[in-house]
Subunit: 368 residues, 2 copies
């Protein structure tokens, strides 16, 4: 029998993360029109703050009115046309999803793979990039299914070597790990609000380089999604405010507040907090005798993969954590389904209190 929740959940899964009361308060401000000057000013500010988080000066930086997976789709449907070739790196669910989305755009996909829980080897990508020219090279910065952080530094050069635009999934890195869109030469990037930004799910921040924008303008075929067509979105989000669809006003209020909190904290300090709490969690988990399948050098601070010990009932432990501690952690996906947990330390959930609670609750649950 499901009970109505009486106390607040503690969210330490793969997202959503805990949402600060300031963000919830902004979310519930009285709704106003999507063309109201008061709203448009906040939208401007939201876009400007997103540029700071993404580390970019890209004009076309905006929140897509849907969740992170729609942000992914926005990147591919705008940059690919039928018959184009895409070079895609896969080491978890989200690289696989990229390939699936690219194929639905009519693209030919070449995959470079690494085992789940490991990073992609840039040398293998560089080798594959020699085989032909590609329209896009795509990879995941922070693989939410495994907790692997990919060093992006080598990939601009590799993309250039095969004439490709560079697409990056930053769903679980934005706000928790530096993304550095301009410095890394990323052409298209997408994220979600419910991870390290600690805003409820529902929007997907994206950013497109000038080069990406020009490529969209020169397409031979229309973008297959009207809703995600950048040339139409750009007319609303790019300054003229031409009606395209009704912007999700309250969600943008919330994102505005979440970005404000991130910038007030200071981005460097925020990234350090994520690293420090992750270190504390790693230590505590190892003290409990638990194994972390991802090698230390490529661990993603906001999300930790933990192997479920032999003989332990995955679902029973997670149900107990939820019931006894109001604590949510995530199950495994794909290759790690039933074999690992995913513990999130994202945004407002990356605090010493969260680390302690999780270690204590997990310790008790594994004993019993």
């Amino acid at each position: 029998m499901v009970q109505r929740m009486t106390t607040k959940r503690v969210l330490m899964g793969p997202g959503p993360s805990d949402v600060p009361t300031e963000v919830l308060a902004a979310l519930s401000r009285p709704t106003i029109g999507h063309l109201d000057p008061v709203f448009l000013r906040e939208l401007d500010e939201t876009q400007e703050m997103l540029r700071q988080l993404f580390g970019t000066r890209n004009t076309l930086t905006l929140p897509i009115s849907a969740t992170g997976s729609a942000g992914m789709e926005a990147c591919f449907v705008n940059l690919l046309e039928p018959g184009d070739h895409a070079l895609i790196c896969r080491n978890g669910v989200f690289g696989g999803r990229m390939a699936e989305v690219a194929r639905r755009c009519g693209a030919e996909v070449t995959l470079v793979e690494a085992p789940w829980g490991q990073a992609i080897d840039p040398d293998e990508v560089a080798e594959a990039a020699k085989s032909r020219s590609f329209k896009v090279l795509a990879l995941v910065h922070a693989e939410t299914s495994t907790g692997v952080l990919q060093d992006l530094a080598p990939f601009r050069g590799i993309a250039d070597s095969c004439g490709a635009l560079l697409i990056v999934d930053a769903v679980t890195s934005l706000g928790g790990v530096p993304v550095e869109v301009d410095r890394m030469g990323i052409d298209a990037v997408y994220s979600g609000t419910q991870k390290c930004l600690s805003c409820p799910p529902g929007l997907s921040p994206v950013s497109f380089s000038e080069r990406a924008r020009e490529l969209v303008a020169k397409r031979k075929t229309p973008v297959q999604s009207w809703y995600l067509d950048l040339s139409l979105l750009g007319k609303y989000f790019g300054g003229d405010r031409v009606y395209h669809h009704t912007a999700p006003v309250n969600m943008i209020f919330a994102l505005h507040a979440a970005l404000r909190l991130a910038l007030d904290e200071g981005l460097e300090r925020r990234y350090a907090r994520h690293r420090e709490q992750a270190q504390a969690l790693y230590g505590g988990l190892q003290q409990l005798g638990l194994d972390l399948p991802v090698e230390a050098s490529v661990r993603l601070p906001p999300l930790t993969l933990v192997r479920i010990p032999e003989g332990v009932d995955d679902a029973a432990v997670r149900a107990k954590l939820l019931r006894d501690y109001n604590l949510e952690i995530g199950g495994g996906l794909g290759d790690f389904k039933g074999k690992a947990w995913r513990i999130g330390l994202m945004g407002a959930s990356a605090t010493p209190r969260h680390v302690s609670l999780c270690l204590e609750a997990l310790g008790h649950s594994l004993e019993s």
Copy 2:
């Protein structure tokens, strides 16, 4: 210089409409996980309440995690394959958008048109349906750009005559005017939350018939949008709760509350309220000497088109209403851009207080 809003706006444009405090309170409940049993129970209830609003028993009734235009796209990308023929009725912006979306699915579009501000003539559609077989017949129930309400009764028969599935835009009718999906034999229908449901913008309720679902299962080509693929969405929203994307938890809390309010009021009573307030508005506008371009028999109660008198400055009047009365009404679109206003009486905005305020404010603004 734009001022921060200090008092609450009164929303009488084409949406968003005023959002009740109960709905805003639900929106700002602490975020919980999208696979949390507490959330899944509310999602079940939300889907069941949506069935009541839509007048359907369709299993596949759910809120798409994006705004109304994405709901439109969901209907077309799932039911159309390249080379299919679509018969589409256009008498305003949204019929035109349907045609655009259908073409982006690779479909051949046959248009039946009526002048903006008039209803579609079913006889003309029946005539066009004789020319060949069609995969879908699509039309708008409530044209948000003109305030025309289309009688849907003749269209199931016409769709059958050409072998088509029937797609209906109910963005500005759901919750304000009876939609009756099952009785009208509609196969795919989409709406928005920010109109007569008086919930913030961000979700698109949709419903698909068993026949539509079977057609999607038998497709030869994959649905071009991964995000909107009904066969994938059905695995999360259809009972198994297989992860597809992170559901926008807080927006669904808000929709749940908005649907609860609608059902508590009673649907018949709610529809009557919309009709009665619209009648009061028509009378008052005519007393002000204003012309309503849409013929009385096809007027859409939730949205009224008002011709801007000769010599009156559209933008100046709307700016004055916003500044002096905190009142938002809508500008014209397409054929009516700069020539008409759109006054919404949707959901919580369909009250005698709203009608009086609007008439008084408009009267004063036109005098000065």
